[in-house]
Amino acid sequence: MTITPVNLSSTVADDEPPVSLWRDAWHRLLRNKLAVAGLAVVVLLAFVAVFGPWLTPYDFLTQDLNARNQAPSLAHLFGTDDLGRDVFSRVVYGTRTAFVVAIVVTTIAVVIGVTLGAMAGFFGGLFDRTVMWFTDMTMSVPNLLLVVVINASLKAPITAWMEARYQATLNPFYRETIWVDFLLVFGSMALISWPPYARLVRAQVLSIRGRPYVTAARALGLTNRLILMRYIVPNAIGPLIVSVSAGLGTAMVLESAFSFLGVGVNPPTPSWGNMISDGLRVWQHYPHLLAAPAAVLGLATVAFSFLGDGLNDALNPRGSK
C-alpha cells in the first residue's frame, strides 16, 4: 500500500560512486590520445631543457671552423652551422631558452594577473574599473608593437646603466648582454601576457562571490582572506590550469616569434626563433639549419596545443562538445 523501500534503495545504488573531480578529470585526459601524446612530448622537452647540457656532446657556443655548414651526420645529428657550431646542441639549448622564458613569463603573468583579477573582482569599484581598463588597453594594442616599443625604450637605459656599473666595478658580469636580453624579453612579454589571467580570475570571483554559500560564510564572520582561500581559489583553479597550460604554449610561441623578428633573444644565445631567422638566410644551400629548429618548435607548439585542448575538455566537461 505504501511506497516500498526497494525502489528507493535502487535509486541510491544506481548513483555513481563518488569520484573526486581531479581523478575524474585525469581519466578523461588519459582517454584523449592527442592530449596524452602532447603531454609526453612536453615532458620529454622539459627533460631536455633541464638536463640538456649533459645530453649534448658539444657546447652550443664552441666554434669549429674546420667543420662549417656540415650536413647532418652521426657526429653532428643536425649538422653544423656557418661557424661550425653543433646545431643539435644549439637546438637543445634553445629548448632551455624556450622553457625558461615560458615558465618565467607565465609565472610573472599569472602572479600579476591573478592578484589584480582577484582584487578587482573582490573589491569592485574604481580599482576594478582601472584594472579592466588596463587589460582592455593591453589586449587591444598589437603585441608586436608593444614589445618593440618596450624593448626600444628600455634597452638603451639598461645597457647604459650596465656599462656604467662595469666601468665602476670592472665586474665582467655587467658585460653579459644575455641578461639584458632575458630581462627585456621577460618584462615585455609578461606585461602583455597578464590580462587574460586577470579577466579569468575576476570573472570567477564575480560569479562565486554572489553565491549563497559565500554570503552565508560572510554572515558567519569569515574574513575576506579566508573566503578567498577556501571558496574562491578552489573554484577558480580548474579554468586557471587550462589557461596556464595554454599560456605556456603561447609564451613559447611569442618568444620564438620575437626572436625570429630580432626583438627577442639575440644571438649568440640560441633560441629556436633566432635560429630559424638565421637559417632562412641560407636555406637553399643548407636546409638543415632551417629544418631542425623549425621542426622542434613546431613539435613543441603542437604538443602544448593538444595538451591544452585535452585539459580544457577534461576540466570543463560541460563546456566541451
Partner: protein
C-alpha cells in the same frame, strides 16, 4: 468515417521500444508501446512531460535526436512499416502523407526564411509544384488556417508574426500536402490560453474538412476533451490506459488516469478548493522499477505490482477500453 470494408487502422504501432545512450550505457525510455489510429480518427496522447509522448511520434518518421534509437517494434502506416522504409521513401512520407505541427512555433520556424518560402517547401518537394503554383497554393493554405491578408503575410518573417499566427503557419505547413495523418506535438503549449482554444477549434474544423487522422500530443486532458475521439494515456514510456474519450472521462480505470483527471480544476466543484496532485515524480531513464512503472507512486500498489509489468487488457463491459493495471484488473474480475 472508416469504410466498413477496410477495418485496418491507418497507423498501427506495435511493441515500439526506444533506447537512449546515457553515460551509464543504454536505457529504455519507451517500453513496448502499442498505439493505433484509425482513418479519420483523432487520438489524444496524454501524459506528463518526459513520459515519451513526443519521442514516440518523432520515432515514427525517424526524427529522433542522435543519442536516441529505436530498438524494436513496428509501425505500420497505410500498410507499410515506417521503421523499415528506405531514407528516400521516408522522405516522401515526411511532410507528404504525415504532416507535423511542433510545440513552439517561434523556434520551429526558420527565423531567417520568409514564411512563404517555408510553406512552399513541402509543396515543391512533394506535390511537384513549380514556384509560382506553390505560392498560389501557399496563399490558399494561409487563408485556410485563418490568417488575414495572406497575400502580404506570405512575405513576412516569423518574428514579424504573433505567436498564434505563427502556430497557424506551422499548421498550414503540416497540412500543405493533404496529409492522411497530422501529428500535432503539444501545439498549444507555447500559446496564451485564449489562443489555445482557437487553435484547437481550427484543427477540429480542418480535420473534418480534409478527412484526415490526427494525433494530438498534450499534457492537458481538459483541453482536448472536445476534440479527440480516443485517448491513450502514457506513463514512463508505456500506454497505461486507452479508451474512447467519453468512456475515459466517465470511467477512468488506471490510478494514474484518475490522478490526472482529479488534477483538472472544475468550476462546478466549488467546495473542493484544493486541487489534488500525484505525489512523487516519474522514474528517470535507466532507473525504471522492476514491476509496474507507476507502482512507486501508486497508493493502491500491491506486491505483484512491484514484481511484474502489467499489460493492456480490455475493460469488461465497454468497447475499446483497455487498461494496464493489476489492481484494476483484479477488481474487475472480482466484480464479475
Amino acid at each position: 468515417m472508416t469504410a466498413p470494408a477496410d477495418n485496418k487502422p491507418l497507423l498501427d504501432v506495435r511493441g515500439l521500444t526506444i533506447e537512449i545512450d546515457t553515460r551509464r550505457g543504454p536505457a529504455i525510455i519507451i517500453d513496448g508501446i502499442d498505439l493505433t489510429v484509425g482513418k479519420g480518427e483523432t487520438v489524444g496522447v496524454v501524459g506528463e512531460s518526459g513520459c515519451g509522448k513526443s519521442l514516440t511520434m518523432l520515432s515514427l518518421v525517424r526524427l529522433l535526436p542522435n543519442k536516441i534509437k529505436v530498438k524494436g517494434g513496428s509501425a505500420e502506416f497505410a500498410g507499410r512499416d515506417l521503421l523499415k522504409m528506405s531514407k528516400s521513401e521516408l522522405r516522401q512520407v515526411r511532410g507528404g502523407k504525415i504532416g507535423f505541427v511542433f510545440q513552439d512555433p517561434m523556434t520551429s520556424l526558420n527565423p531567417v526564411m520568409r514564411i512563404g518560402d517555408q510553406l512552399c517547401e513541402p509543396l515543391i518537394y512533394h506535390s511537384g509544384l513549380n514556384k509560382a503554383d506553390a505560392r498560389i497554393r501557399a496563399i490558399e493554405l494561409l487563408r485556410l488556417v485563418g490568417i488575414p491578408g495572406p497575400e502580404q503575410r506570405i512575405e513576412a518573417y516569423p518574428h514579424e508574426l504573433s505567436g498564434g499566427m505563427r502556430q497557424r503557419v506551422m499548421i498550414a505547413i503540416g497540412l500543405a500536402c493533404d496529409p492522411e495523418l497530422l501529428i500535432a506535438d503539444e501545439p498549444t503549449t507555447a500559446l496564451d490560453v485564449t489562443i489555445q482554444a482557437q487553435i484547437v477549434d481550427l484543427v477540429k474544423d480542418l480535420r473534418k474538412k480534409l478527412n484526415m487522422s490526427v494525433v494530438w500530443i498534450t499534457h492537458d486532458l481538459a483541453l482536448i476533451a472536445g476534440l479527440v475521439d480516443r485517448v491513450a494515456v502514457l506513463y514512463a514510456g508505456t500506454v497505461v490506459e486507452d479508451a474512447p474519450v467519453g468512456e475515459l472521462f466517465a470511467r477512468p480505470t488506471h490510478p494514474y488516469t484518475r490522478g490526472l483527471l482529479a488534477s483538472i480544476p472544475k468550476l462546478s466543484d466549488e467546495r473542493a478548493s484544493r486541487l489534488s496532485s500525484i505525489g512523487g515524480t516519474p522514474p528517470e531513464p535507466g532507473r525504471r522499477p522492476k514491476g509496474c512503472p507507476f507502482a512507486p507512486r501508486c497508493a493502491l500498489a500491491e506486491g505483484v505490482c512491484h514484481e511484474r509489468v502489467p499489460v493492456l487488457e480490455p475493460v469488461a463491459g465497454s468497447g475499446g477500453h483497455r487498461v494496464a493495471c493489476f489492481v484494476a484488473q483484479r477488481q474487475m474480475k472480482e466484480a464479475a
